[in-house]
């Protein structure tokens, strides 16, 4: 009687284990919709003057000044005007960061990346040639042109600092990952030496790079 009871109980336990195993297998074979996701590739965005959020914009803005003959070389800095019309931020809030674009050039830069092995920041640089050149071949050192910065309503108006063109590549700012920086640059000509009459031109190029 006792010998007969024990195998019956064992048999019951074995059956329970079998049901449990089947239940686990059943869970494994229940398929579901799956998806492989790749993260967005890292991205830099830069605009100098007129720009379009997250799109290319080929505009090259002009900053200029006409120095009256009587004032040439008198050492009094001359404010430069801009043909930029970009007054509102491209940061997404439409804020009027540069309220007087006729004397300001808005510079904005962002760097987006994932938390992987990508660099932690991007670098904003500006490269200027050694000189502005006239049609006659006369030159003015680019170091005669400086800029001040501002940003209406910003707690960090100097996030991209003021400076003077050096005639070479200059580092302006570091843009940490997943941040956006912007402010307004107002240019002036030092007017510290006599120059031959003429129209002097030169182009500076801003770059934002993540190695």
């Amino acid at each position: 009687m006792k010998a007969h009871f024990v195998p019956a109980r064992l048999s019951h336990l074995a059956a329970s284990a079998g049901v449990l195993l089947l239940a686990v297998l059943q869970a494994d074979v229940a398929h579901a919709w799956s998806l492989n996701l790749s993260p967005a590739t890292r991205r830099v965005f830069l605009h100098v003057g007129n720009g379009t959020a997250n799109q290319d914009n080929s505009t090259v803005n002009l900053v200029q000044v006409s120095v009256p003959a009587a004032q040439v070389g008198n050492g009094v800095a001359q404010a430069m005007a801009s043909n930029s019309t970009q007054s509102t931020s491209l940061y997404g809030d439409g804020y009027t960061t540069c309220p007087t674009p006729s004397t300001q050039v808005m510079v904005g830069a962002s760097y987006q990346r994932n938390n992987n092995s990508s660099p932690a920041s991007a670098t904003l640089r500006v490269t200027s040639p050694a000189s502005l050149v006239s049609a006659a071949g006369d030159t003015i050192p680019f170091s005669q042109i400086s800029w001040t910065v501002s940003a209406a309503g910003s707690p960090v108006p100097g996030v991209i600092p003021a400076g003077t063109f050096s005639g070479t590549a200059q580092t302006l700012a570091t843009v940490p990952a997943n941040t956006y920086i912007e402010n307004c640059h107002t240019f002036s000509y030092a007017n510290s030496a006599l120059r031959a009459a003429g129209t002097y031109t030169g182009q500076v190029t801003y770059t934002l790079t993540s190695p």
Binding site: A30, A32, S34, L35, L37, Q112, N178
Partner: protein, 153 residues
């Protein structure tokens, strides 16, 4: 004797209730479902002052075919589930063609997509899904495994 029978009936009812509660949820097979496209690359969302750092998003369609043959005639609720993985939360927001409910789901949660009596062997619909996540991924690739489960009444 009558009191004993009532007690036993109550015990049986409690046991059945407990058994039913333990049984839910039931994983449903939707191996007939597929996504278009099958692999998706996230895109950066524009940076704004309200979401510094922004994040990524992707859009896709999911053609759903959920096997409910085992539950025909039963009433209950079907949920879509996105298990949490080791990375940051994913948010899925979808619209449907009407057979299932539109909704929103975040990693680690489940959201109701159907409630009522199961009348057919399959539940079919097409979701248009927007996926969003933060930028704090550690890896270069991520697999999302959604599934459906049924809570019988």
């Amino acid at each position: 004797m009558s009191r004993l029978r009532s007690l036993c009936t109550l015990c049986l009812a409690l046991a059945l209730f407990a058994g039913s509660a333990r049984a839910n949820p039931h994983r449903l097979d939707d191996s007939g479902s597929h996504t278009v496209p099958p692999n998706v690359q996230m895109q950066w969302r524009p940076m704004t002052s309200r979401s510094n750092g922004a994040g990524m998003e992707a859009w896709l369609r999911v053609n759903l075919r959920i096997d409910t043959a085992a539950w025909i005639g039963r009433s209950g609720r079907v949920y879509m589930v996105l298990p949490r993985d080791e990375m940051s939360s994913i948010e899925a927001v979808w619209t449907s063609q009407g057979r299932l409910l539109p909704g929103r789901l975040v990693s680690g949660e489940r959201t109701l997509v159907y409630a009522g009596r199961i009348a057919t062997a399959t539940l079919e619909d097409q979701f248009t899904v927007r996926l969003r996540s933060g930028a704090d991924w550690q890896g270069s690739r991520r697999r999302l495994d959604f599934h459906f489960e049924f809570d019988a009444d």
